[in-house]
């Protein structure tokens, strides 16, 4: 059996340290080892985006990266984006605009959308559709997901303006 590796990560602001086989996937680390079950598994071949997390500021599919590759990095999952007392505008917008049905894709969708809006705070519909194409939803047909992201963008821009 290959030697276990010593891995340190920061997940949602919390330092984690553990020994893992080199083949351990990050999604497994999150879900099984750290009990962070927001990111889901839909394919394990990097097609569906249900496992999307943010690593050092970039959207990454956690099923396609080893825990060892995330060594020393900062990982954010849906649990780190917002909770009952500090809901992210995207979380609210998905509810307001019916951007989810079964909810299985939702953590990955919202996590990806946070990055999309960071990179492009004023996306057109086309840019949203292109920027979200790595995340599959089987339920909604995307129309209301697009709407939710547009609504969140508007809200976030207004808040930013008000703050300035």
């Amino acid at each position: 059996m290959p030697k276990k590796m010593h891995i340190k990560l920061n997940v949602n602001g919390k330092d984690e340290e553990f020994l893992a086989e080199p083949r351990e996937l990050l999604i497994y680390t999150l879900r099984e080892r750290l009990n962070i079950t927001g990111p889901h598994i839909g394919c394990e071949t990097s097609h569906c985006g249900a496992c999307t997390v943010t690593i050092d500021g970039k959207s990454v599919k956690a099923c396609t990266i080893f825990a060892a590759q995330a060594d020393g990095k900062e990982v954010t999952t849906i649990e780190g984006i917002g909770g009952p007392d500090d809901l992210h505008p995207l979380q609210n917008a998905f509810k307001e605009h019916h951007g989810l049905q079964c909810g299985y894709c939702t953590p990955g969708m919202i996590t990806r959308a946070t990055k999309l809006l960071e990179e492009n705070p004023n996306p057109t519909e086309e840019e949203i559709r292109f920027g979200m194409a790595g995340n599959i939803c089987r339920c909604t047909g995307y129309q209301n997901i697009v709407k939710s992201i547009q609504a969140a963008a508007t809200e976030m821009n207004a808040a930013k303006e008000a703050a300035e």
Binding site: G42, C43, E44, C102, G103
Partner: protein, 808 residues
């Protein structure tokens, strides 16, 4: 006492039927706090996974598990030999056949379950699977059902008598060793006679390809046998948890009260999660053997290759008409490829589901349908992928036949539909193949749809485009896809609908708490449809308590009343009706309490939004909240304390939602790429409970229709290798490929449903597939196309263009 709040405000406060109430489910899902089966974690839980067959048809010569048991972390390996003493190496299917749980001497499809490896974690299970040695002897493979019906190769030796004769199957006589059943509806001879003597006859053969529901979450379960108390708890992705409990009891011998089945949050179902799969049985056995909770979760490849395919119907049609276009007869023959075991999820008496709704929305006086089920070396399944049982196939068939007939008549397909629709005054309408359509107003819906899209204008534009194309000014053709569909949902009346002998009623149980809030439990289970939101709305309107004060719970067989689950758009038609009826029982008791409190006779009070008022004296009233409290704190002569009700609802008939769809598409002849310019969907699902959720269902159903029509398929090569086992090959549309949809509606309430609702989740899929397909075919109609088979992926569209000589 003066009432400060207006009646309108009181209605709004309830958030009852008809309003776009936001979903109560969303808080947990948007914060990553859903609880799906793979999120279930129990102390000491271990993991099971399958050794699967690489061959589509082979004899198993030996299985050696010794090396696997040496792998660190591996705890046990189960084979058929281990299950046989328990009688669990085979299990009954929903279709009256039986299926191997683990390969018993042979395998019948690629990916079939051969051994179950149980290990401390998923990695160890994967290592164990690698170490199991199976020796196979390959057998000739049958992937073509027509060949299977001629072949000497016997797939199911267990279904052939020792003298070589073919015993009857669950659905009557079988014609060949690889034949499963023949199922008929309608009148054969009269139909053939009408067609033989008709002015016009159009014929077509079409293949509705095999595909898969592919919800984003795969199937899985956690089985936990508590040996101390003798209780088995089974969490799983079950669309029908109560039926699963009964099945587990029947096949395991455990008494039903000792089994608790829980469907937690489900990440989409679309029919995939109706069946009972070997993974469930093996997990239960493994938990009994090891004394530990066992989790089994499919990976995507397992899911696509082994559980629950859909469709795979080879359909041959003849339709006859007068010269004016009045349809006189319809003949349909289907060769149905069911794979290695007949595991179709259909009501017992309907081995081809409701395929006999294939006369569609049209007044066709004579019709005949014959379906032959066939075994092949493909995965078993045959579920209704986002449709009521085989309705998608039926509607695709008739909507293509109408187009083909229109070509033969040289007539506009919209007009042909119009002159053949069942008229409003003909409802309730008994179709030639037996169903009694409860209600409809097709002409109104059709006219509204055609007007909304400016149908005449579109046809003119299309004609101009053809001119331009011929003149070399463009390489893009324009297609106008039409479809008008009638669904048949809400299975169903117990007199003719059952699954494994269980009548297809459904149920609701309501408990009102003293302070005027409530919990209601149902026999169904949401997989994204938003039951917790909409069923509370039905109740709010029925019992006058705010939807926000009503908790809806489903999916735990220890607490919920028995029901047959959620599929076939049956939740609203059946459980929704049960909810309304249980609510009415609450209201009846509340009326007596109110009358007592107001010191009048029972008949002197009437229900008004959220209260009972004294007739003619609206200032004298008791609110439902007050009544609820009284039910618990006062001794009322002749009335038991408490306020609870339960209703088991056996629907008198199915419901028949319908709709009119139009798709406008541009097709690049040189690349085969279709671009959807516009999609208009008018749905009539009767009374509308939550318009926001209805629209969401329509968007989702249309997107799955787009997928199926334009590229999604489960394909096999000649060796029975599944070529589409990953999301690389199996088409799931992304936001980039999907258009915005325009939704519209008419409302024709179901006359026999307590609130007039009909169900909507599947309509857009049923109506959408032919609409997308018709758009592609219509683009090529001016160049001589009558029919090409789906899926219309870029390659096939290019090929169609090529065959019509459009590439110069």
């Amino acid at each position: 006492m003066k009432d400060e709040v207006t009646r309108e405000e009181r209605v709004d406060n309830l958030k009852g039927m008809g309003c776009s109430r936001k979903r109560v489910e969303d808080a947990r899902f948007t914060q990553g706090k859903g609880n799906y089966v793979d999120d279930v974690k129990l102390d000491g839980m271990i993991f099971g996974d399958f050794v699967r067959s690489p061959y589509a048809h082979a004899r198993i010569k030996s299985i050696d598990t010794a090396a696997a048991l040496e792998v660190p972390g591996v705890l046990a390996v189960l084979t058929a030999a281990d299950l046989e003493p328990l009688g669990l190496h085979w299990m009954p299917t929903l279709a009256g056949d039986k299926q191997m749980v683990l390969a018993d001497g042979k395998v019948l499809f690629q990916g079939q379950e051969v051994a179950f490896v149980v290990a401390e974690d998923r990695y160890a299970a994967a290592d164990g699977i690698e170490a199991v040695e199976v020796e196979y002897e390959e057998l000739p493979v049958l992937v073509d059902p027509f060949e299977a019906l001629k072949s000497d190769v016997v797939l199911r030796e267990d279904l052939v008598a020792e003298d070589g004769s073919i015993p009857d199957g669950a659905h009557g006589p079988r014609k060949h060793a690889n034949h499963i059943f023949t199922w008929e509806a309608g009148d054969k001879d009269p139909t053939e006679e009408v067609i033989a003597n008709a002015d016009i006859v159009a014929e077509e053969e079409m293949y509705y390809h095999r595909t898969h529901p592919c919800p984003l979450e795969t199937c899985g379960c956690v089985a936990s046998m508590d040996k101390v108390n003798g209780k088995l708890t089974l969490w799983g992705t079950f669309q029908a948890p109560h039926a699963i409990r009964t099945i587990v009891s029947l096949i395991s011998g455990l008494e039903e009260h000792n089994i608790r089945v829980i469907s937690p949050d489900i990440g989409g179902g679309f029919g995939n999660k109706v069946g009972a799969y070997p993974g469930y049985v093996c997990s239960v056995v493994a938990s009994i053997v090891t004394g530990k909770p066992v989790k089994w979760i499919e990976d995507r490849m397992d899911n696509l290759m082994t559980t629950a395919f859909a469709r795979d119907y080879w359909m041959k049609g003849k339709i006859s008409a007068t010269k004016e276009g009045k349809i006189t007869g319809l003949h349909c023959h289907v060769t149905a490829d069911h794979g290695g075991f007949d595991a179709c999820a259909d009501p017992t008496k309907f081995p081809a589901g409701f395929m006999n709704i294939c006369t569609g929305s049209y007044d066709i006086p004579t019709a005949y349908l014959e379906v032959d089920g066939v075994y092949t070396n493909k995965a078993p399944g045959g579920v209704s992928y986002r449709c009521s049982f085989r309705v998608t196939e039926a509607v695709y068939f008739i909507e293509r036949m109408i187009e083909v007939l229109a070509i033969k008549l040289d007539m506009d397909a919209a007009e042909l539909r119009r002159i053949n629709f069942i008229k409003k005054e003909q409802f309730p309408y008994t179709a030639a193949l037996g169903w009694e359509y409860d209600s409809g107003d097709y002409h109104t819906a059709w006219d509204k749809a055609l007007k909304a899209v400016d149908y005449e204008g579109l046809r003119a534009e299309q004609a101009q485009r053809v001119e331009d194309f011929k003149a070399g000014k463009t390489r893009k053709l324009m297609g106008i896809g039409l479809s008008f569909f009638t669904e048949i949902v809400g299975a169903g009346p117990v007199k003719n609908c059952d699954i494994l002998g269980l009548g297809m009623f459904d149920s609701c149980e309501i408990r009102i708490h003293p302070t005027g809030s409530a919990i209601a439990r149902l026999g169904t289970i949401s997989q994204g449809q938003g039951h917790a939101t909409t069923f509370a709305q039905i109740l709010a309107s029925e019992i006058g308590l705010p939807a926000d004060s009503i908790t809806i719970e489903e999916g735990d067989t220890d607490t919920a009343p028995y029901g047959l689950g959620t599929y076939g758009s049956r939740s609203t038609p059946v459980a929704g009706a049960a909810t309304a009826m249980a609510g009415r029982k609450i209201r009846a008791k509340a009326q007596m309490i109110a009358a007592y409190l107001l010191e009048v006779h029972d008949n002197d009070v009437e229900f008004d939004v959220d209260r009972f008022v004294v007739k003619g004296a609206p200032e004298k009233f008791k609110t439902m909240k007050e009544i609820a409290f009284a039910a618990y704190n006062q001794a009322i002569p002749g009335i038991e304390p408490g306020l609870e009700a339960v209703s088991y609802y056996d629907p008198p008939n199915m419901t028949y939602p319908f709709g009119a769809y139009v798709c406008v598409m541009d097709i690049d002849v040189d690349t085969g790429v279709p671009e959807i310019r516009r999609f208009y969907a008018l749905d009539d699902c009767g009374t509308r409970i939550n318009p926001m959720i209805i629209e969401g269902q329509v968007h989702g159903g249309l997107t799955e229709a787009l997928a199926v029509a334009l590229g999604q398929e489960i394909a096999y090569d000649d060796m029975g290798n599944c070529k589409t086992g990953t999301l690389m090959d199996f088409f799931l549309p992304t936001a980039w490929e999907v258009p915005n949809y325009e939704t519209d509606y008419t409302v024709t309430p179901s006359p026999h449903h307590p609130i007039g609702a009909k169900g909507v989740g599947e309509s857009p899929h049923v109506g959408g597939v032919p609409c997308f397909s018709n758009a592609v075919q219509d683009a090529f109609r001016p160049f001589g196309n009558t029919h090409t088979n789906m899926p219309h992926d870029h390659w096939r569209i290019w090929k169609a263009a090529n065959e019509l000589g459009l590439h110069g």
